[in-house]
């Protein structure tokens, strides 16, 4: 996993609440058995005027001029602002793979759906929550300032605006360490293999039907 420490990035926004994972990556792209290549299909139904299919070359497809991420000013963005309950719906990790592949390393919203939130940390993407009032300010700032950037500092747990205003955010310490170091969860867990085995041994005695 790509480590995440400090990100100085161009900010894009999709000003909607309840953006679901079906919208982030429509289901036809879930047929892929790969983990990569989903970026061109991020927000596919909103982004293009035609219907997209897996394995299609997207470079010649008609873009929807009304979809905000198609505006030239947002090209190359690595930070995405959104509203409440971002990533709700299906558990598809493809949603995070698509964002990451598109170039988004940090999503900032007032709240996230649990599974999506979790999936982000497994892929070097930082989902962070800021209060609604702060979000309103940031949306207004991005709207009014082409080329608007933010600095997200994970070790310091701050988001800093160009005028130097810093907003603090919360993050679980173990998740933070994993992101900063780019650690693989499975490797970490397997260090506790002995404990897992001894738990298992006890359970086999207490509740043998679980192991049939």
């Amino acid at each position: 996993m790509k480590p995440f420490t400090r990100l100085d990035g161009l900010v894009a926004m999709v000003d909607r609440a309840n953006i679901d994972t079906d919208a982030i990556i429509p289901k036809q792209f879930l047929k892929s058995i790969k983990r990569s290549g989903f970026g061109p299909n991020l927000f596919d139904e909103w982004r293009y005027l035609d219907h997209g299919e897996p394995d299609q070359d997207c470079s010649g497809r008609p873009l929807n001029p009304d979809f905000i991420l198609n505006q030239p000013r947002y090209q190359g963005a690595s930070i995405l602002l959104a509203r409440e309950n971002f990533g709700c719906g299906s558990s598809r990790e493809h949603a995070v793979w698509a964002l990451e592949n598109f170039g988004i390393r940090c999503v900032i919203a007032p709240s996230f759906a649990d599974i999506f939130f979790n999936n982000c940390f497994k892929n070097g993407v930082l989902p962070l929550c800021l209060p609604v009032e702060t979000m309103d300010r940031l949306f207004a700032a991005v709207e009014g300032t082409p080329g608007y950037r933010l600095v997200v500092d994970l070790p310091a747990q701050t988001v800093t605006t160009p005028d130097g205003t810093a907003f603090a955010f919360e993050v679980d310490q173990s998740r933070k360490q994993c992101l900063i170091n780019g650690w693989d969860d499975i490797g970490l867990t397997l260090r506790h293999a002995e404990e897992i085995r001894s738990y298992e041994a006890q359970r086999r005695v207490a509740a043998p039907w679980l192991f049939a």
């Binding site: 609440a17 397997l190 298992e200 509740a207």
Partner: protein, 468 residues
């Protein structure tokens, strides 16, 4: 000290170790696997040279991409076919003992087939790379959906890294009226607390209306916990649970059964348990529900009208409503019963069980699908549901009325196979999501109960099943 909630009990029984920040390593008893979210996880195992920790914890089957055409022999879409074949190959390579491929009568939507086989039992931790895993909580289990990285993590370690959720008790007290089903209860709950109302919580559904539900009904309710924002939903174990589990193929037998039942009897919240939040609903006030928008919380009773965004004070919400109405092609204040339908879909892990098919068939009995409808589809949740329905003659009721009777799978719930809506079409669906494009690009989904879907199919528009 206060007593424990059901969630506390399930959690505590599965903690392998806890870190200083409260993050726990949670042991997983049952791992359900389907073809869509598993290929990258199997690939991850291969790349790192890891083996599954406990192969017999895995129950796997293809469901999302499988065709539903009667007697199909192959998957025409090459991308779908590759995905199903990849699961076949992975199951073969790892020699998974419980793999139900196409052609196996036990195959179905994992959330229907799992409980049906007794593969998900009370007291278990159950995960699946699918957000509707909460379904299995109906059995008094801790069940939740995970992403593909976590699928791989569970395969490799039999554990998950988890933080404990807060607890939310949703009590539905009293008795529902005739024609009001488990689906209406859960839609009413979501309408009440919103799609983010349960975010960060594990929900326990309780109260006399929940206790009165059959196991099928409880599975329907827990299925949509995720639509209320919660990863897990659950119901306490009682006689209904135990009677349901008894004699299922994976359920314990004889002396082990007795021991298991004794343990399962403890799986309820203690009377003095304290929840972080409690929400109560009056069952008698719940009417048959229909969604009008593109989020399950955009729901009203069938005798109401499409709401007017102008009445909404919150700007973000208002904008959401306006966008939803535009997508749905609906005008504010249109009576729900005036919405004309193009297709009707009865099936999915929410409402693809035998009881659901019986409820729909009971409404249809001898009548015909409206001629204005392009398609009415019944897709049983599993091969065994289909077989049972056929033994009861339900397939005859459906086909005589003009419904198509299909092979089991997810089908038009998410339209990964060939069953889908065309742009602009309105569909009465018994599934769980009405998101934009969910049932096909531009498709317009209205979520309802099986009885309401059946009545709507006969009328060609929504009708109040209570007076139909």
């Amino acid at each position: 000290m206060a007593g424990k909630t059901l969630y506390d009990k399930l959690w505590d029984a599965h903690v392998v170790r806890t870190e200083a920040d409260g993050t726990a390593l949670l042991y997983i008893d049952r791992h359900l696997v389907h073809e869509v979210t598993s290929p990258q996880a199997f690939e991850g195992l291969r790349l790192t040279g890891r083996q599954p920790w406990r192969r017999n914890s895995i129950v796997a089957m293809p469901d999302h991409n499988t065709p539903t055409d009667p007697g199909f022999t192959r998957i025409d879409d090459p991308v779908s076919r590759t995905q199903v074949e990849t699961l076949d190959a992975n199951a073969r390579e790892l020699d998974l003992p419980s793999y139900f491929p196409i052609g196996d009568l036990r195959r179905g939507i994992v959330h229907v087939a799992g409980p049906e086989q007794g593969a998900t039992l009370p007291g278990m931790t159950v995960v699946c790379g699918d957000s509707h895993t909460a379904t299995h909580g109906a059995l008094g289990a801790l069940a939740f959906g995970v992403g593909t990285s976590e699928v791989e993590h569970v395969m490799a370690t039999q554990c998950l890294i988890q933080k404990k959720s807060k607890t939310l008790l949703i009590r539905v007290d009293g008795a529902v009226g005739p024609g009001v089903t488990a689906k209406d209860i859960i839609l009413a709950i979501i309408g009440h607390i919103g799609t983010a109302g349960g975010t960060g919580y594990a929900i326990e559904f309780g109260g006399s209306a929940i206790q009165a539900l059959s196991m099928e009904g409880r599975l329907t309710v827990c299925n949509m916990a995720i639509e209320a924002g919660a990863r897990a939903g659950m119901v306490a174990v009682d006689d209904t649970t135990i009677a349901y589990v008894k004699d299922r193929p994976f359920a314990p037998k004889d002396e082990l059964w007795e021991r298991a039942v004794a343990a399962w009897r403890e799986l309820h919240s203690d009377p003095d348990a304290v929840f972080d939040r409690v929400v109560t609903l009056d069952a008698a006030a719940i009417k048959p529900q229909v969604t009008w928008g593109t989020s399950p919380e955009m729901v009203v009773a069938v005798d109401q009208a499409v709401p007017d965004p102008a009445q909404e004070a919150d700007a973000t919400k208002r904008a959401g409503m306006e966008r939803a109405l535009q997508y749905m092609g609906l005008q504010p204040n249109t009576p729900m019963t005036a919405i004309m339908l193009d297709r009707v879909f009865i099936g999915s892990c929410t409402n693809g069980r035998i009881e659901d098919l019986r409820a729909a068939a009971a409404v249809i009995q001898g009548r015909k699908v409206a001629s204005s409808l392009k398609q009415a589809l019944v897709v049983p949740g599993s091969g065994l549901v289909k077989q049972q329905a056929e033994a009861e003659g339900l397939d005859q009721v459906f086909t005589a009325a003009g419904f198509e009777w299909r092979e089991p799978g997810c089908s038009m719930c998410l339209a990964m196979n060939a069953d889908r809506l065309l742009p602009g079409e309105h569909c009465a669906a018994t599934s769980n999501r009405n998101f934009e494009g969910r049932q096909g690009q531009g498709g317009r989904t209205h979520l309802v109960s099986p009885a309401m879907a059946a009545a709507a199919a006969l009328a060609g528009h929504f009708v109040d099943v209570r007076t139909f």
